[in-house]
Amino acid sequence: MSAELYHRIIVETAKETAKATRLETADVTVEEDNPLCGDRILLDLLVRDGKVAAVGHSTRGCLLTRAAAVVLARRAPGCSAKELGDAIASLHALLEKGEGPPLWPELAMFAPVQAVKSRHECVLLPFRALARALALIERSKGAQP
């Protein structure tokens, strides 16, 4: 079961975090930690016309966290908050109930993680950061006159 987590696609995708960059200008930046291991993501979002215009991140973590951050950064641009919320929900359904396929096909690489509950948080860390960033954006809209 453990060996199946480390298939080629996850390992290769995780390597792409080496190329990740932060945004010089962002509407919101959030920092999210995995309290079990101290893994951390710094996630930047730039939003224009109700959709994500750009994503930046710096991710320190295991292969699962890093691969999840790469997928997020690749797929989030162009999405509305609703579409991102649906993608996060589909990832939860995949991990918690084994339901699929996920809204973003790349997330299917995490299907073997469903069997290892202790590693769900590793995959979810970047998406928890995304959910918090979206909530902050929503809150700031509400604060505007």
């Binding site: 291991c37 295991c62 292969l63």
Partner: protein
């Protein structure tokens, strides 16, 4: 009971036979996460099952035969724990749910006596359970927290004691053995320092207790905490030893039944120690299991076991040093350390290492091990930890080393 002839000549197979997990899990089971929890010994498991299925009743309340037997067994367990740690009397042992509960009790009760500006001296090597309770309790009274730093080899820099102690130091709280580096703390030196300023010394013994009987009086500390589940007993019970004259002076921790002498609507008076610190129904079955484990462990030949653990530790250290990309955290030698080792592998996250080691039947722990300040001081976020107990054998160590070489080949 296994034969323990001493001088390293002992019946390891017989000893392993006293731990039901090995028969249940089969040969491809290499349990090296003993610093997180030890496997339950037969004596403890039988005590737990016997109480819960044959002799279950609440303690110190009922007058019927079964309740009386339960109370006697509970107090006998307390005495057995007292014997294992070298307490002067059983009444010095408070039954807790574990070390975390014990240290929270210590922090709550001791900080109630502090004044704003008083100081609590911790160490950088502490488990979070010996940091956070002091932060919480210290903040309520306005106490300041300071910490003894590490040397470059990961041991505590006790030469800094003179700088860190002051007339305001009221409490020193330190681990007896780091749960990350395995380094044993010189408790005698801390006791001397505590006495020099009139401070109380609290020791977290969770990692030291599974490696042989103790003499808390000789150590010179005032309070000593341990966990039953690390001491090859059940989860849910631990102990806090409090020197008897100090215990008499301390206020209660939790309020409720059992810890009182008399209650009116306006106020209450409290029972003497240890009952003052044991509000509500205690973890009776788990305490009986802890007592049974303590009694069984007290009868083993620890000279032979120490020699065995040291041999495994030496092999583990040498094997890890031979694997490219592996860096050990903390002391490199075997002197003054418990048989546990934490390490990092260049370019591979500790969780990924542990997950793949699982495919070889090797159980290790990855993460910060609830010791973030220590990891920060060592310049890493997390590590892999392999921790040895009396029942481990050479096959466990070789499985870890072989598995780790494969992990490095695959992911580095």
């Amino acid at each position: 009971m296994p034969t323990m002839a001493g001088r390293g000549d002992f019946d390891l197979a017989g000893l392993r036979g006293e731990f039901p997990i090995f028969a249940a899990q089969g040969p491809r089971f290499h349990y090296l996460d003993n610093a997180a929890t030890g496997q339950i010994c037969r004596a403890a498991a039988e005590a737990l099952i016997d109480f819960e299925t044959r002799a279950r009743a609440n303690v110190k309340r009922g007058v019927y035969r079964l309740a009386d037997e339960a109370t006697r067994a509970f107090e006998e367990a307390r005495a057995r724990i007292a014997g294992y740690i070298g307490a002067r009397e059983a009444a010095e042992v408070v039954i807790t749910s574990g070390t975390t509960h014990a240290l929270n009790l210590a922090a709550h009760c001791l900080c109630a006596r502090l004044r704003p500006g008083d100081e609590i001296l911790l160490t950088t090597a502490e488990h979070h359970s010996n940091i956070v309770p002091w932060q919480l309790a210290g903040a309520r009274v306005g106490a300041t927290i300071r910490a003894i730093p590490l040397q470059t080899d990961g041991r505590l820099d006790l030469d800094r004691l003179a700088d860190l102690l002051s007339a305001r130091t009221r409490v020193i709280a330190a681990t007896h053995c780091s749960n990350v580096t395995g380094a044993i703390t010189d408790i005698g030196r801390l006791a001397e320092a505590a006495r020099s300023v009139g401070a109380v010394l609290v020791v977290d013994g969770a990692q030291r207790a599974p490696h042989g009987p103790l003499d808390v009086q000789a150590l010179g500390c005032d309070l000593y905490a341990l966990s039953g589940h690390k001491l090859f007993a059940a989860t849910g019970a631990g102990a806090l030893w409090i020197r008897s004259d100090l215990a008499q002076e301390l206020p209660p921790f939790l309020g409720g039944g059992e810890m009182i002498r008399r209650v009116s609507i306006e106020s209450s008076t409290f029972a003497p120690p240890p009952h003052r610190f044991e509000a509500g129904t205690p973890p009776i079955g788990a305490a009986l299991a802890l007592g049974a484990a303590a009694a069984w462990l007290s009868g083993l030949d620890w000279e032979a076991i120490h020699a065995h653990e040291q041999r495994l530790l030496e092999r583990l250290l040498a094997g890890l040093k031979a694997i490219p990309g592996v860096r050990l955290l903390g002391p490199e030698g075997t002197q003054a350390r418990a048989p546990l080792v934490s390490f990092v592998v260049d370019g591979i996250h500790p969780h990924d290492v542990c997950q793949l080691l699982d495919t070889f039947g090797v159980c290790t722990r990855g993460g910060h091990h609830c010791a973030q300040p220590l990891h920060e001081a060592l310049g890493v976020e997390a590590s892999v930890r392999a921790s040895i107990a009396l029942y481990n054998d050479e096959a466990d160590i070789e499985a870890l080393l072989d598995g780790l070489e494969e992990v490095v080949r695959r992911l580095a």
